[in-house]
């Protein structure tokens, strides 16, 4: 498999590898897997009270393209609002990394991970609001 230079760069020097505190109410965690190849990917975002993603971390066990896709995703996420983050599509990743057709599913996985992290964050926020109804009425 001939990887593009950008894939090799991200796979060899992945950005933002790591873990954020899952129990932090400002952290959203997306955990996704690709049953067709056995890759697992965890992507986490830390969202400021103003709704901006101030940090993003990932951990991926999979092929170089999956690592590169998630590494790139974390780079793109930082500084974006949730609404902007939702607009990141897998084709953007494909184009940036020059992924070949057989590796498109890696970018789909990364997009899925972004979405699950955002969903998780929003679900947490909603749960917090419903736990503290007095905060809403104020």
């Amino acid at each position: 498999m001939a990887y593009s230079e950008k894939v090799i760069d991200h796979a060899e020097n992945p950005r933002n590898v790591g873990t954020l505190d899952k129990s932090d109410p400002n952290v959203g965690t997306g955990l996704v897997g690709a049953p067709a190849c056995g890759d697992v990917m965890r992507l986490q975002i830390k969202v400021s009270d103003g709704g901006v993603i101030e940090d993003a971390k990932f951990k991926t066990f999979g092929c170089g393209s999956a690592i590169a896709s998630s590494s790139l995703a974390t780079e793109w996420l930082k500084g974006k609002t949730l609404e902007e983050a939702e607009k990141i599509k897998n084709v953007d990743i494909v184009n940036e990394l020059n992924l070949p057709p057989v590796k498109i599913h890696c970018s789909v996985l990364a997009q899925d991970a972004i979405k699950s992290a955002i969903d998780d964050f929003r679900a947490k926020q909603a749960a917090r609001r419903s736990e503290k109804p007095e905060a809403q009425t104020k």
């Binding site: 955990l31 897997g33 049953p35 067709a36 056995g38 890759d39 697992v40 965890r42 951990k59 066990f61």
Partner: protein, 187 residues
């Protein structure tokens, strides 16, 4: 291609692979080009094509993932990226935990811990294989239970996750033992 048919064996998951290998070898010998030296070119070409099919069939059947895929397909259940359900979150959490523990054990060069994690993954993989075996047991007969088959489809994904992890284990164990040999020589 029906790989089981190509090898003339029963279409099932829990095969005796030693027997299948023997069967593959016998067929390969019978289809060897030398045996077709005296016949016409079309018969020879046919033998070569059959031999290629038999080889491909053996590659599919001996691989636990590809064998399972073939049995699902034979039963009319499509497999692959767009056809399989998303993996369950609880399973993914377990898998992530196992992979992180494996990465940690690799960094610590802790062979005992690596083996323990591999044993755990192998046991889980075995249970998954048994579930697949049971689900596809009656495929592709007329009485197949499609519902049972579809509900077993996530197991195929789980099998691939375990395979992937165990392939990584083999690579890690190989690298570490090479390092140990090199260090042994150096000291």
């Amino acid at each position: 291609m029906n790989p089981f048919e190509a090898l003339g064996i029963e279409a099932r998951y829990d095969l005796d692979l030693k027997e299948v290998e023997k069967r593959h070898r016998e067929l390969s010998v019978a289809l060897h080009p030398d045996k077709f030296a005296a016949v016409g070119p079309s018969a020879r070409r046919e033998a070569i094509e059959r031999a290629a099919r038999v080889n491909e069939a053996w590659r599919i059947v001996k691989d636990p993932v590809r064998r399972a895929e073939a049995l699902f397909e034979l039963a009319g259940i499509k497999v692959g990226e767009t056809n399989e359900p998303k993996t369950d979150q609880a399973f993914l959490m377990d898998m992530m935990e196992m992979r992180e523990a494996l990465a940690e054990a690799r960094d610590e060069k802790n062979l005992g811990k690596i083996r323990a994690l591999a044993d755990d993954a192998e046991n889980r993989e075995k249970a998954v294989k048994e579930a697949i075996s049971l689900a596809v047991a009656r495929a592709p007969s007329a009485q197949i239970d499609k519902h049972l088959l579809v509900s077993a489809l996530p197991k195929l994904g789980e099998l691939r996750f375990y395979r992937r992890m165990l392939e990584d284990v083999s690579a890690i164990e190989e690298t570490l033992s090479e390092q140990a040999v090199a260090e042994g020589r150096a000291s």
